[in-house]
């Protein structure tokens, strides 16, 4: 019976029939870094099952956040080795998928894609992380929902506002679920606050921003672009969020 080969068939069959000499133990790795880890490292082991040496032409990660290194430039017959992919977590959240493309001289354009999946534990999920009022708008409270991550048990959270111009109120809405009501004292001035949110007994801090913004500009209107009185946040010190020049105001809420 004749078989009709679809593009998918071509791609997979080509992969299968290519004279690949490098055999990978696995080409996809799932990592679960612990809370507070700065990096997640994946090891991709291989063995040269062919009769000729294999030379690595390039090992290239999909983003600058992942550094990929091969132990050796050339792998002799029967030799084993590994490619290490180091993913810098930074301030990333959720499931991150990064790839490393390995090119060898096994055959023309022989490329293998190694996949690194890192599931970053999120102690608190905050939505939204930004609440704002337009200048002159009624200063009604706006809510930020805070949920504990799946693997975490959070009974209390502490919310601190960096500015006394914003008040916060925390209510528990369910198990591991909280509502933070944020309210400015007034909306006539442009002002901002960084809300620091922390789970009880946890050193990890999360952030949200509250701000009074300029009203939307009319398209095509001439004038000074942006409002001259916008308080541009000063450059932040490394490792911390931007904070206003004055010391944090003693407005904090614990629940």
């Amino acid at each position: 019976m004749k078989t009709h080969v679809l593009t998918l068939a071509l791609s997979f069959i080509l992969c299968l029939t290519a004279r690949a000499e490098l055999k990978w133990e696995q080409t996809a790795v799932e990592l679960h870094p612990a809370k507070g880890d700065k990096q997640a490292i994946g090891h991709f082991k291989y063995q040269n099952v062919g009769k000729t040496p294999v030379h690595f032409k390039s090992v290239h990660a999909s983003c600058g956040c992942t550094a990929a290194q091969s132990q050796k430039d050339q792998v002799g017959p029967n030799e084993k080795g590994e490619i290490t992919a180091t993913f810098n977590i930074g301030d990333r959240t959720g499931t991150q998928i990064k790839t490393v493309t390995v090119e060898t001289d096994e055959s023309a354009n022989q490329k293998t894609v190694l996949t690194l999946k890192a599931v970053i534990p999120q102690e608190l999920e905050i939505s939204p992380t930004f609440v704002f009022w337009k200048q002159g708008e009624k200063a009604d409270p706006k809510s930020i929902a805070v949920h504990a991550g799946k693997e975490f048990s959070v009974k209390h959270i502490k919310v601190t506002s960096s500015s006394p111009d914003f008040q916060t109120k925390v209510q528990e809405t369910g198990e591991g679920q909280f509502k933070v009501d944020v309210q400015p004292n007034e909306t006539n001035r442009l002002m901002a606050s960084t809300l620091t949110i922390q789970a009880e007994n946890s050193p990890k801090t999360f952030y949200a921003t509250a701000r009074i913004t300029t009203a939307p500009t009319v398209p095509g209107a001439h004038g000074v672009p942006g409002a001259p009185t916008i308080q541009k946040a000063p450059a932040a010190p490394p490792g911390g969020p931007t904070a206003p020049a004055r010391p944090p105001a003693p407005t904090s809420q614990t629940h």
Partner: protein
């Protein structure tokens, strides 16, 4: 009479499986494209084309089995599809790829490798039996 009834039941079962699989995938081609792209094996454009085309191919071939229109053509396409999916699943497993064939779209992404293999093999055996029956019938009429 009983024999042909049994073959017809098998036609309907296989057709139902492929129509169900096709409909599931056709309902959300955007998600299917992302599922295909997930492991970066096929170029994005090819993945998009497959996501829009493959489900309908399965649906039409399933309908062809039910209504006995272009029956042998449908059998050959479905057999080819299953052979490809089987080869791809085995090949991926041998290479250490964590991949599911996505036969049932996003719904099947948590199925284990043995589950996929069992279903694909079962379908292939059924298709082979239907092909044999079709050839035998054609010879009998000749």
């Amino acid at each position: 009479m009983v024999k042909s009834f049994i073959w017809r039941i098998l036609d309907f079962i296989i057709a139902a499986i492929f129509i169900y699989a096709g409909v599931l995938k056709a309902l959300d081609p955007v998600q299917l494209t992302h599922d295909i792209d997930h492991y970066k094996i096929l170029p994005w454009t090819v993945g998009v084309a497959l996501a829009f085309y493959l489900p309908w191919l399965e649906i039409f071939c399933g309908l062809a089995l039910i209504f006995r229109l272009f029956y042998r053509g449908a059998l050959s396409i479905l057999t080819a599809l299953v052979v490809v999916f089987l080869a791809a699943t085995i090949g991926a497993k041998v290479r250490g790829l964590d991949i599911t064939c996505g036969c049932f779209g996003h719904a099947s992404q948590n199925w284990s490798f043995p589950t996929h293999m069992a279903l694909d093999l079962g379908i292939l055996i059924a298709l082979a039996a239907l092909c044999y029956c079709s050839v035998a019938r054609a010879r009998a009429h000749a």
